[in-house]
């Protein structure tokens, strides 16, 4: 019975052992997995006097061959950014152990050596010469600006990129230190490696440098700021250790002058996490005759579409009558008449948008027509009573003003329509901040020069062709080839509103009849 039990026991023990081995394997794997997380950790080396609280903060844990942003461009991956492993910043912080009073010595030099291990022979971290061609490789390299091997200290805030590097003692930048880099290894990451892995910082009397009189526990910070011409390139993969030492002498840097030492460790991930998102194309374009803000009381949207006619009106949509309202909207040889329409455009196209018009001049069913205003196409012209002419223009001043809503140039429109005061209140409540919206305006679009002078017009319209006033234009080919009337190409279009003004005059020789035309508007955003 005992024998049986013993066999079972042995079997179970073997089983247990196997399971335990697997568990241990799992535990070991888990440990190595956890240690690949790029955290700031410290590792021990055997120094007589150790720096305390040693940390190393990298600006990027990307491998050194990675220097582009999520879109594959360098635009958003400048030196010192998280995506740029080729040009990184590093910040070392640690507390001194040796007290100047006890040792009778001040800190005159630091060395920082980058190795693949914390002790023993030093191999510079990396997996090969720099290449972005798969399989990508890089080896840690400290690049200094200028001649490349030496530089002088700059002063600046942490990691601000203003200066290439900095030493701080108890938070205060130290002046007069020099920095030099060398390739100092016992073994190389690859045959022929010359990358610099050794930093020497010295306080030289010749530079009016004051050695650091550190007490025990004083905070020291050494910063390398990445810029285009000075940076540290990460290795292509794996962990690296930085062996830090300080010395009491700037000439002799050896065990006879070493004061404290310590090692920090860092690791690079295989690749940054690329986050991409999309803002898809949008466009909203409306054409009509009435601004809803002239009628709607209460809640206003920031960019309501233009209405095709006044609310409750029985007229056809998008129809305007041009002429004397007391004479069945007929034209006269004694004065010109005008009318208005509106268009409104929003588009998130980064390269702006263009608005065109197309259509014919006023024409009767029997073939008579009213001439294009001006002596040539697209020529801003003062209208003249008694002359056969038709034209249009944007009110380039539409609208300007403050809370009093004074709109020179479009006065006739808004005077007639009694701009709703509720809209003014809503605008004033929302004219700042991220949700800000604005009064109707053609901006950011700009009217084409020949079509930009439709404002600045008085009522009566007894223009004589010489007195300054609004100017209009038209293109005789607009019916087949749309004509550009407004555009911009540098930003998204944030609810641009164009007020188009039409004018018509007739001469005694203008044949009687009903004249009509249809003007179409086209919007072409550029993404």
């Amino acid at each position: 019975m005992f024998k049986i039990h013993k066999e079972k026991f042995v079997h179970k023990l073997r089983d247990v052992t196997r399971r335990s081995s697997l568990l241990l394997l799992a535990a070991a794997f888990l440990t190595s997995w956890l240690t690949t997380i790029p955290v700031v950790v410290s590792a021990d080396q055997f120094f007589t006097s150790e720096f305390a609280n040693r940390t190393l903060l990298l600006s990027s844990s990307s491998p050194g061959w990675a220097f582009t942003d999520g879109a594959g461009n360098t635009t958003n991956a400048p030196p010192g950014s998280g995506a740029n492993g080729q040009k990184t910043s590093e910040e070392f912080t640690f507390n001194t152990n040796t007290d100047k009073d006890t040792a009778g010595q001040n800190i005159n030099a630091f060395t920082l050596q980058y190795c693949t291990g914390p002790a023993g022979n030093c191999t510079n971290p990396g997996d090969g010469a720099f290449t972005t061609t798969p399989p990508q490789k890089s080896t840690l390299d400290i690049v200094l600006p200028g001649s490349g091997s030496t530089a002088t200290l700059g002063n600046g805030a942490d990691m601000d990129g203003t200066h290439n590097w900095d030493i701080k003692w108890k938070g205060v930048s130290q002046a007069g230190w020099t920095i030099a880099t060398t390739h100092t290894t016992d073994a190389d990451a690859y045959v022929g490696s010359t990358e610099k892995n050794f930093l020497t910082l010295k306080c030289l009397v010749a530079n009016s440098c004051t050695p650091i009189p550190a007490d025990h526990g004083d905070a020291i910070e050494i910063d390398i700021y990445a810029q285009n011409n000075g940076y540290i390139t990460n290795p292509g993969s794996g962990a690296f250790f930085v062996r830090i030492k300080d010395f009491s002498d700037s000439t002799t840097l050896d065990d006879t002058t070493i004061m404290d030492g310590g090692v920090t460790v860092a690791n690079v991930m295989s690749q940054s996490i690329q986050i991409t998102t999309k803002v898809l194309e949008t466009m909203s374009f409306s054409v009509g005759t009435e601004d809803p803000y002239a009628y709607t009381a209460g809640t206003f949207g920031p960019c309501d579409a233009i209405l095709p006619k006044a609310p409750s009106a029985t007229t056809p949509d998008n129809a305007i009558a041009l002429g004397d309202p007391s004479a069945e909207f007929s034209l006269s040889t004694t004065q010109a008449y005008d009318a208005y329409s509106l268009w409104r455009l929003s588009s998130n196209s980064a390269n702006g948008a263009s608005v065109y018009y197309s259509g014919d001049t006023l024409r009767s069913t029997e073939g008579s027509f009213i001439d294009r205003i001006g002596t040539a196409d697209d020529t801003a012209t003062l209208p003249k009573k008694g002359v056969n002419q038709f034209g249009l223009a944007l009110n380039g001043d539409f609208p300007t003003g403050t809370s009093s809503i004074t709109y020179p140039g479009d006065q006739s429109y808004y005077d007639t329509h009694h701009f709703d005061s509720g809209y003014v209140t809503a605008y004033q409540a929302n004219d700042t901040g991220p949700e800000a919206w604005h009064l109707p305006s053609i901006a950011p679009l700009a009217a084409q020069a020949a079509y930009s002078l439709g404002g600045n017009g008085a009522a009566g319209l007894t223009w004589d062709g010489t007195t300054a006033g609004p100017e209009f234009a038209f293109n005789n080919n607009a019916n087949t080839t749309p004509v550009l009337i407004a555009s911009e190409n540098t930003q998204v279009v944030d609810c641009a509103t164009g007020q188009v003004r039409y004018v018509a005059d007739v001469a005694g020789s203008t044949a009687a009849g009903i004249y009509t035309t249809k003007i179409n508007y086209l919007a072409a955003p550029e993404y």
Partner: protein
């Protein structure tokens, strides 16, 4: 032994441990996971349509630049209500590209396509694959594209390019492509919107300007004289003469006509014969006639004057020194819009030596009619 059995029971079974390891490995793989691949957008890109009239056949121009410099064999254009390439495509109502005619402008190797029309809302441009130029703009033009009819919403063309001349092998029947479709090189949508234009209506009111008096201005701004003229005593040795003036203008598309109405000079049953055909003045003969020209025999009258050029004098009254009269004759007419023109009417009366005595009179009425 009991303790051993308890220990065996408490330890995880082998299979469970392997499962745990597998999960751990999987998590490691996910943690080190890789990176999302980002399909790049065509940039810049725009759509220009030559007419925004709903339902109209017009020209579309897609202008764009390739971003990824690689071999491209096809450019896909799918017309949908929304620009999202991963959504099912709803064709814009009314749009039809099946009759599109293709042309291109730009530089090789961004050109060289031929058109395949896949459906009323789908175009595939295809060619032998060639490496495109990064950033160089090219315009693809499609004539005879029928606009959609929905004016309330913009519509999009979903652009995508592929190495294969046949487009994407992974496009779904509903027009969507997968988020990580490996066939797609670059993506991008362009938008446009059709809409009703602004209809402008006006009218030019008709007018007919007519005046007659002894003297008038060509634009009838003023007249002088009286409607009654006493020619004096008939003399067989010389004609009695007088003149009057009239001016006419109209914007009637078909012009106007002016006629004269009334009997010849008469005293009761005694009449002075009207000249039914243009005849020179012959004193000693009973004659009554008019013309609208400058005369030298007798010396009177004037040719028409004024800016108008459309009006013409009827032939019977258009000969200097010859006179005529027929009741109801048209004196002047124009067949189109005619601005102000002034006519001088010359009247002559000759009498024979044995004309019956009496007071000879006539009343002449002029009618101006606009032909609108």
């Amino acid at each position: 032994m009991q303790k051993v059995r308890w220990l065996a029971a408490r330890l995880s079974p082998q299979r469970l441990l392997y499962a745990q390891l597998a999960i751990m490995l999987l998590c490691c793989g996910l943690f080190f996971g890789g990176h999302a691949t980002a399909v790049v957008r065509f940039e810049p890109r725009s759509l220009y349509i030559n007419s925004s009239v709903p339902g109209a056949a017009t020209t579309y121009k897609v202008t764009m630049a390739y971003t990824t410099q690689t071999a491209v064999g096809s450019l896909d254009m799918l017309f949908c209500m929304d620009p999202i390439p991963y959504d099912p495509c709803v064709a814009p109502p009314g749009l039809d590209v099946s009759g599109a005619q293709y042309s291109e402008s730009g530089s090789a190797p961004d050109t060289g396509y031929t058109l395949q029309t896949e459906s009323p809302n789908h175009i595939l441009l295809t060619r032998n694959p060639a490496v495109v130029v990064d950033g160089s703009q090219v315009t693809y033009t499609f004539d005879n594209v029928v606009n959609p009819t929905d004016t309330s919403h913009s519509f999009a063309i979903r652009l995508s390019d592929y190495a294969s001349p046949s487009g994407s092998a992974n496009m779904q029947p509903d027009g969507s492509i997968g988020v990580n479709d490996l066939d797609t090189i670059d993506l991008g949508s362009v938008l446009a919107q059709v809409g009703e234009g602004i209809e402008i209506e006006t009218q030019v009111p008709p007018y007919l300007t007519f005046c007659i008096n002894h003297t008038v201005e060509p634009d009838c701004s003023s007249t002088e004289g009286e409607a009654y003229t006493d020619l004096g005593t008939l003399d067989p040795s010389k004609p009695l003469t007088t003149t009057s003036q009239m001016a006419v203008a109209t914007n009637a598309i078909n012009g106007y006509s002016v006629s004269i109405n009334g009997i010849t000079m008469a005293a009761g049953t005694n009449v002075i014969n009207a000249l039914t055909v243009p005849t020179v003045s012959a004193p000693g003969n009973n004659q009554f006639g008019i013309n609208l020209r400058a005369n030298t025999s007798p010396n009177m009258g004037a040719d028409p004057d004024g800016a108008g050029s459309a009006a013409v004098i009827s032939p019977s009254y258009d000969v200097p020194n010859e006179f005529a009269y027929n009741d109801g004759d048209t004196l002047v007419s124009a067949d189109s819009v005619a601005i102000g023109k002034r006519f001088t009417i010359s009247y002559i009366v000759n009498s024979s030596p044995n004309i019956k005595p009496g007071v000879y009179t006539t009343t002449l009425t002029y009618f101006a009619i606009g032909n609108f």
